[in-house]
């Protein structure tokens, strides 16, 4: 096994082009588990921790550009206003030691349906930046996840950044696990209200072979919600929203939970996230009035 240690993005892209089956490693919180347990023996490890660009974040064209190698701890510290749903999800990742190392780029590279970053990226309509020696391209998160652990990333591409649209309304994240820390989600849910476009975004984690959206639930809520005043929704509408979220899931029975439990939990999280969001929305509407 080769260990490649590029110090610039150009070098890294050349390395990935020369070794398309080479495995990029950043925080190592997924990759090293596979190596330690003999589950994977890549021909090459491509260490991305020495590339300054990947560890940076900043404002760009009405978005926050988040380098793929920024650890969750930094996202929690610095992006709770610019990316509330992602920051909330980041807080629920594993433990402090893992949050110090784990990155959104790693979540996207592994593309486990349980990855905490995916539901917020879907709900907020984030965009993923991919790069190769052929150039850079951008893929909406909503088109990124193709099938189980398969994404739109091509073999010679690296994930370089995520573009997070400026929030225009409340964003929430909820996760069910057997305890608060150190758990892989049994299932998770993210909700984003966009007051400007009057649209709703959702993201479901551990609810199917890929991270999913509940598009029927999004359309339903966008039509029912009082975008002017943020009036609380009738109980029946809240319940209907939860049902539509659960109906969009394609869960399995496994050691972490049954499909039926996951569907139930999704409907409960959807209702809760909605009620938190309506409360936040009303606060904002009152302040602006």
């Amino acid at each position: 096994m080769e260990f490649l240690s590029p110090s610039t993005l150009e070098e890294a892209l050349e390395a990935k082009s020369a070794h398309p089956d080479g495995l990029p490693i950043m925080g190592g919180t997924d990759v090293m588990v596979e190596l330690n347990f003999d589950k994977r023996r890549p021909a090459a490890l491509i260490d991305l921790t020495r590339i300054p660009e990947l560890a940076e974040w900043g404002a760009e064209d009405g978005c926050t550009r988040l380098g793929a190698g920024v650890p969750y701890t930094r996202i929690i510290e610095h992006l709770s206003a610019a990316a509330p749903a992602l920051a909330k999800a980041s807080r629920s990742v594993a433990s402090p030691q893992i949050r110090n190392r784990g990155t959104v780029g790693g979540n996207l590279g592994g593309a486990s349906p349980a990855g905490e970053a995916h539901p917020p990226l879907l709900a907020t309509d984030a965009v993923i930046e991919l790069a190769s020696v052929r150039g850079r391209r951008r893929v909406p998160a909503r088109e990124f996840y193709l099938s189980f652990r398969t994404t739109a990333r091509r073999d010679d591409e690296l994930i370089t950044a995520v573009l997070l649209p400026e929030p225009s309304g409340p964003q929430q994240f909820a996760k069910i696990g057997t305890r608060n820390a150190m758990v892989i989600a049994v299932t998770s849910f993210s909700l984003a209200l966009d007051a400007e476009r009057r649209t709703v975004g959702t993201g479901l984690g551990s609810a199917g072979p890929t991270p999913l959206r509940a598009e029927a639930a999004e359309e339903f809520l966008a039509g029912e919600f009082d975008w002017e005043g943020g009036a609380p929704l009738p109980e029946a509408a809240v319940r209907r929203f939860g049902e539509l979220v659960a109906a969009a899931s394609r869960p399995i029975d496994d050691q972490r939970g049954s499909a039926g439990y996951r569907r139930h939990a999704l409907s409960v999280m959807a209702r809760r996230a909605l009620s938190w969001s309506v409360t936040d929305y009303r606060k904002e509407a009152t302040r602006c009035a």
Binding site: M1, E2, F3, S5, I25, G27, G28, T29, V31, M32, V33, L35, N36, F37, R41, L45, D47, T49, T73, A94, S95, P96, Q97, I98, N100, R101, N180, A181, M182
Partner: protein
């Protein structure tokens, strides 16, 4: 491959390192620093926690080559003094764990010590109030102990925080 980095203030080099092995393996098996413990090898237990460029991390999840040129501080580096033998004195956190009875089988202890040291540096060490129970539990959420039930560990952290604040500096 050859990997050179700094451990506890000392520049070290390890040879014949397999590129896929962990920093934990290099520390324990190649550099004679067995303080960091190998238990789960998947970041669940925290017993291999070290400072890596000043930030705590599970050393089982850092590839050896990623440590090239970096600064590592292990549990061995928490004791005061530069020697390797009995001339070294335990640091504030280590003393507090012994006194509070927070050490039973001892396997999780090195990771808890490093993670506690970090918590105290970020709180009382930075002029902030001593951490409360909730903050301690959050900071130590990635360190599993199967003996103590954690109560004595929490006591030890409170004790270390008091002393750290009292002396104006830690180990």
């Amino acid at each position: 491959m050859r990997v050179s980095f700094n451990v506890n203030g000392e520049d070290v080099t390890a040879d014949n390192v397999w590129p896929g092995e962990s920093l934990l393996y290099v520390l324990r098996e190649r550099l004679g620093l067995p303080g960091s413990k190998n238990a789960c090898e998947q970041g669940e237990c925290g017993s291999c926690t070290v400072y890596f460029d000043g930030v705590t991390a599970c050393s089982c999840m850092i590839a050896a080559g990623q440590a090239e040129g970096r600064r590592v501080r292990t549990v061995e580096g928490l004791a005061q003094g530069s020697g390797k033998g009995p001339e070294r004195e335990l640091g504030t956190v280590q003393d507090a764990f012994v006194e509070a009875g927070a050490v039973q089988c001892g396997f999780c202890t090195p990771g808890l010590l490093v993670q506690t040291d970090d918590l105290l540096e970020r709180t009382v060490g930075a002029g902030l109030p001593a951490p409360d129970d909730a903050e301690i539990r959050e900071a130590l959420a990635g360190n599993l102990c199967r003996c103590t039930g954690y109560e004595k560990i929490i006591d030890a952290v409170h004790l270390a925080a008091e002393r750290h604040a009292g002396t104006g500096g830690g180990a």
